[in-house]
């Protein structure tokens, strides 16, 4: 959620990018994600379709809307 500071600046179109700080909660979550990504990446070769090159090559659709 936006901090109070950001709320105050909501109406200011010419807001300086420097004034905005990363949301600390988001940064913390980011660190957790790194670990979780590692976990998924450890398993990724079992999850991905086996012969990726051939698979991607053969995935052909007819155009839709």
């Amino acid at each position: 959620m936006p901090s109070e500071k950001q709320q105050e600046h909501k109406d200011n179109l010419t807001q300086d990018a420097e004034e905005i700080q990363p949301d600390p909660e988001v940064t913390e979550q980011g660190e957790e994600i790194k670990e979780d990504l590692d976990q998924l990446l450890d398993e990724i070769d079992e999850i991905l379709e086996e012969d990726s090159e051939e698979f991607v090559e053969n995935y052909i659709q007819r155009g839709g809307q």
Binding site: M1, P2, Q7, I20, Q39, I60, R62, G64
Partner: protein
């Protein structure tokens, strides 16, 4: 604002000798059984996709299917949605919803419906054949399939105002709504990774087509409602999204901007000098900070254009009219723009294009491979796989690593229950309660066959009617025949 989405899915059968997407689509759509009746047809009489919002009827043919094919390619769902075969893709349309939160719920219920169908269909196939369904927009060989949004607007708004007010918004909202794509297509400039799945396929500013030379603003004028009161704006420029947060913001902020256009406060204040070029430039600008040329000589970044729309919303929308969902959408819009300004990668739990980029970048760093490596392309595709064990997005979701808007139970409930506050309620409940008396239906019609010899059509030309509040009692107490007579007798224009 009443709105809905349509999703065309990519489909493929692994280890099948011949790939026949029409057969595969037909198999999965027909095998799906909710508690609604089978064999009900779609009422094509209510449709004319060739009417152009600019005030003419385009030449061309739009032939409805014959009776047998009609029933084969259409399923009308008890949640009020439609499940059918469009060209060579299975397509799911949500029921009409009144707010962004409900719309996320019904779009996500569609993914469950596709996955239930997939599992049932695989029972009929040889053991080594798997059906693979992608909720994405491209096969990476120049064939795109769509994700469309529909917004019910006031007919009195000149179409030109919509074109002028909406184009800069649609071109720049990708920085929030993109699903991410490895590489380029359709002759567009090469790149390792871009924000949007669809941007490369847009070649004109305004037009009727949805399949070739796609326009940023689509002019199809098929309101599926009283044409004197309403238009249905058909937005074809968006990506199919996996992230609940992304879908929520996409439809939430777009409906807010359309309200601003209805209020006449946008005008052509943010007119871009070349929207068709800009849509591809924005898609390739992973910083979201490269300035775009405005028609009047100003140069604004995509974030600045988005922020300008947000400021207009703060300034002009009366606070008293804010629903909790609208307020939440505004807060999240502000939050996302402020984070994008600092570093887009901070949104690695929120936005599809960032979630995907983060995952692929980590893989590339770990393995020391390039963006064009087949495993990387496979990851891009498989991010959109709807299977719980195979889909990369679904795996991240299951591990609690992406933001949610909803509880899973709400999504499951939405598979078999219509929204209560639009005409989808009437449609969904009728299908459940009177399966033997309904002959056909469409977005704005329900046709009953009471005695087997004649048909009674109830027109539902007002999407705000047919709600639980208005017809709940009738539907609870009436037989089909009583219902038809009560509605015809009341002069109640649905």
């Amino acid at each position: 604002m009443i709105m809905g989405t349509e999703t065309e899915y990519g489909i493929s059968v692994k280890n099948a000798r011949d790939q026949d997407p029409v057969a595969a689509s037909t198999l999965i759509v027909n095998i799906y059984k909710d508690r609604g009746p089978k064999g009900i047809t779609w009422d094509y009489e209510q449709e004319n996709p060739l009417v152009d919002a600019r005030g003419f009827i385009s030449e061309g043919e739009s032939n409805p299917p014959d009776q047998e094919n009609n029933s084969l390619i259409n399923d009308i769902l008890i949640n009020g949605g439609r499940y059918y075969i469009d060209h060579a893709h299975p397509e799911y349309c949500t029921p009409e919803c009144t707010n962004a939160r409900d719309l996320v719920k019904y779009e996500k219920a569609g993914e469950l419906i596709l996955d239930l169908s997939r599992m049932a269909a695989e029972e009929l196939l040889p053991a080594n054949q798997d059906i693979i369904i992608y909720k994405n927009n491209s096969d990476y060989k120049g064939h795109s399939y769509g994700s469309h949004e529909n917004y019910l607007m006031n007919r009195s708004i000149p179409f030109q105002d919509i074109v002028a007010g909406l184009t800069p918004f649609l071109v720049t909202r990708q920085i929030i709504t993109g699903s991410g794509k490895v590489g380029a297509e359709n002759g567009a400039e090469e790149t390792d990774y871009q924000i949007s799945q669809r941007a490369d396929f847009f070649e004109t500013e305004v037009g009727l087509s949805t399949m070739v030379a796609r326009p940023i603003i689509n002019t199809r004028d098929e309101p599926h409602a009283d044409e004197k009161l309403y238009r249905r704006l058909h937005v074809i420029v968006g990506d199919s999204n996996m992230s609940e947060f992304t879908i929520y913001l996409k439809v939430g902020i777009t409906s807010i901007v359309l309200k601003l256009i209805e209020m006449g406060v946008v005008g052509d204040a943010f007119k871009l000098s070349d929207p068709v070029a800009a849509i591809k430039t924005v898609s390739r600008d992973l910083s979201c900070k490269n300035p775009l040329d405005l028609d009047d000589g100003r140069r604004w970044t995509p974030i600045e254009v988005q922020r300008a729309y947000l400021e207009l919303a703060h300034k002009h929308l009366p606070k008293a009219d804010f629903t909790p969902v609208m307020q939440d959408v505004m807060d999240k819009w502000e939050f996302v723009l402020s984070q994008l300004e600092v570093n887009p990668m901070l949104l690695e739990r929120h936005l599809d294009w960032v979630i995907k980029k983060n995952l692929i970048t980590a893989y590339i760093e770990r393995r020391g491979v390039s963006w064009s490596h087949p495993r990387v392309r496979m990851m891009d595709l498989q991010y959109h796989d709807i299977r719980p064990n195979k889909g990369l997005y679904v795996r991240l979701l299951k591990n609690g690593h992406v933001e949610r808007i909803l509880d899973q139970e709400e999504i499951v409930y939405a598979v078999t229950h219509p929204p209560v506050d639009t005409r989808a309620y009437f449609r969904g409940v009728c299908l459940q309660k009177y399966p033997h008396e309904i002959h056909s239906a469409s977005w704005n019609s329900m046709i009953f066959s009471l005695d087997g010899s004649s048909l009674d059509k109830i027109l539902m030309d007002r999407p705000h009617f047919g709600t639980q509040e208005i017809v709940g009692n009738l539907l609870r107490t009436c037989t089909a025949s009583e219902l038809v007579h009560a509605i015809h007798g009341s002069n109640n224009n649905f």
